[in-house]
Assembly symmetry: C2
Homo-oligomer: 386 residues x 2
């Protein structure tokens, strides 16, 4: 059986979602480590921190006061990377000169939101029961819905039961943007190692008039697969295959498969894939949302259990663009990526540096080895057992 | 003038070398930082460390003893990511099943070398005068040459004056590999923040039977530009344009332009481009090599001066593949990338995390602002002035 051999030899694996390769060196985990150690996260936090700009009732940078929210709270980022209003920029017309050929730019506007997952300062998704993650998914859904192109086929799918966006101190959340946004990126950076500067459980939502690189690459490959395979969906096929194989599965339920993808780059990278074709959050029914909450709860708990630490990661949702052609929207398939940096312990991470930046992503342990370890550390959250 | 406007508004810039976009948010540098701080590098090191596996005369992990080398020293990595010999792997034949369609792998063999830049344990390229960097460039050239496909047009260009690979404790350096390698990636990870575990000045050289992702993407775009622009070279055109414009230039001499590229992702990213068309190291004459050494010395010194710290980075050389079609080799253009993580100070770095991983690379200060700061910190190395 060829796959067992891949446990021993260096090889490359193909990522059909990105159309790219990753170098796998399973024998390389043996090398000693004398490099940088991450700070371990054994700091006790209060459940309310008066100096935290995310806690209920506190004042933020621009003077706004957070409401006494009870589950989630959304506001426009005080230091947004993109804004709705800015000076107009018209790129110079292509005149055959080197400058117009090689120095290309285009204006992008958009909006950046922050979303808290809980009023409690000292919890993370790993501490939250699935039932309290459902409101986070509902809030993501309502923000996504309120930014949909009214002409999108998805606008019809958006159920009237969708919770309207609320809990914001500025009215601009609900209103349609001046210019239709093309894409919405929902994500979370967790832990200092992932550039997160506030432990209060929260994520971000950036929406832009442009379709960013990664979703564009994925959409291109999803569409191509669909055309070439007589209408079937790459990720639906993939979830089916992985669910049958089992060796890369971490957790699964009736709506979602979650596991270490064949082509994963980060040591404990996980992908969550809707088993049936779902274009976006608006396609999830109540049962799907409960299943998604369960999967998120299970992944984050297993991550923390693995090295008995608050496990850093970046995670994000890929789904249909807010506006696009019917073909683009129909080819989209709801999924999530979890990219965690740790490799060997709470303090030793994988660096994607020199070779990885210049040549090709490279990983040491295989996805099958990673999935097995994550399967084996279910049960109660380690912190609760202490 | 449209470019001044780009100092203020969020926009995307196009990278014609990768065919990708980067989001630029110049106004965003204002946000306060309460996140992770890097360790600053104020440790005094001895010029010879008996426990360093790279210092002359010391013993390495597998028992080999380093010679008393005087400038550079090359050996096969004791923990290589790819090896020359391993079990044969034949991917299963495509049978139309989901598994053969979605779980693709291929075997890769190759070789990983370590190259020291100096026998002194406590120097870096920034401390080394250009004249002592020339032997490093000569060693890179001789290793590249000794791995060239004998049928490559480059094999003829390789001057007989090329210094033969030496200073190795195992004879396998000079010998032709069993299987012709396709690509050689020369790179350096400097500093703990870039996953480097030993301060002794050194780089790495990985060669593989496969053409890795990044060089493949670049080669694709270089070839396409050449076809579309009647034979002219993208990077030759680019160096000419930037040298005229000047606003993104950091240092330049008669052979090389070095500056913050229009489409750079990292805050102080620098690209070094041969001004005339050079396919690979073997195309550089003695003058070009002295000029390259000068540029490397200037960049690394300015980096250290910027925040008065030993500035971490990953750098690497992109050049013609070791074997390939004549068209591939002729379209290749020698250049180097420097990717440094620091953003605001010796201890605050840029994190390419959530949005950057899920959606699109995002930068805060513009390349023009970065280039100006690096132009302004020439002169003597700050450590020498203390
Ligand atoms: O080879 P080293 O220095 O042990 O390791 C370093 O560089 C490699 C190549 O960029 C990376 O894969 C490793 O993650 C990094 O720690
Ligand atoms: O927006 P934050 O949390 O201040 O910043 C963090 O996330 C952003 C989006 O991934 C990154 O651009 C920043 O580098 C990172 O520090």
């Amino acid at each position: 059986m060829p796959e067992a051999l891949l446990d021993d030899i260096s090889h490359r694996r193909y990522n059909p979602l990105r159309g790219s390769w990753v170098l796998v060196s399973p024998h390389r985990t043996k090398r000693p480590w004398q490099g940088q150690q991450e700070a371990s996260s054994r700091i006790e936090l209060p459940s309310h921190d008066p100096s935290c700009y995310l806690c209920p009732g506190n004042k933020r940078a621009q003077g706004d006061v957070n409401p006494d929210y009870e589950s989630t709270f959304v506001f426009v980022n005080d230091y947004a990377a993109v804004r709705e209003q800015q000076a107009e920029y018209e790129p110079p017309a292509q005149d055959g000169s080197l400058a117009t050929r090689l120095l290309k730019a285009e204006s992008t506007t958009g909006k950046c939101y922050v979303i808290t997952f809980s009023p409690e300062h000292n919890v993370t998704l790993a501490d939250m029961p699935a039932s309290t993650i459902v409101p986070v998914i509902n809030k993501w859904t309502s923000i996504y819905t309120s930014h949909l192109d009214p002409h999108s086929p998805l606008a019809k799918a958006a159920r009237p039961t969708t919770i309207p966006p609320s809990g914001s101190t500025n009215g601009s959340l609900d209103s349609q943007p001046k210019q239709q946004h093309r894409y919405m990126q929902i994500f979370e950076n967790k832990g200092q190692a992932m550039g997160c500067s506030n432990p209060h459980p929260h994520g971000q939502i950036w929406t832009t008039t442009s379709l960013p690189e990664e979703p564009e690459i994925e959409l291109h490959n999803l569409r191509q697969y669909r055309r070439e395979q007589g209408g079937s969906h790459l990720l639906e096929d993939y979830a089916k295959l992985e669910s049958e194989k089992g060796e890369r599965t971490v957790v699964e339920n009736s709506s979602f498969w979650a596991g270490c993808p064949w082509w994963g780059t980060w040591p404990f990278e996980i992908m969550v894939v809707a088993k049936e074709h779902k274009r976006a959050l608006v396609d999830l029914d109540e049962r799907n949302k409960e299943d998604l909450a369960e999967v998120i709860a299970e992944i984050t708990k297993r991550y923390d259990n693995l090295f008995e630490t608050s496990f850093p990661y970046s995670m994000g949702i890929h789904q249909a663009p807010l506006s696009g052609t019917k073909e683009e929207i129909d080819a989209s398939h709801f999924h999530m990526h979890f990219y965690p940096p740790l490799l060997r312990s709470a303090t030793v991470r994988k660096f994607l540096v020199g070779y990885e930046m210049m040549a090709e992503p490279q990983r040491d342990i295989t996805p099958e080895q990673a999935a097995k370890r994550l399967r084996d550390c279910g049960g109660e959250l380690y912190r609760r057992k202490l």
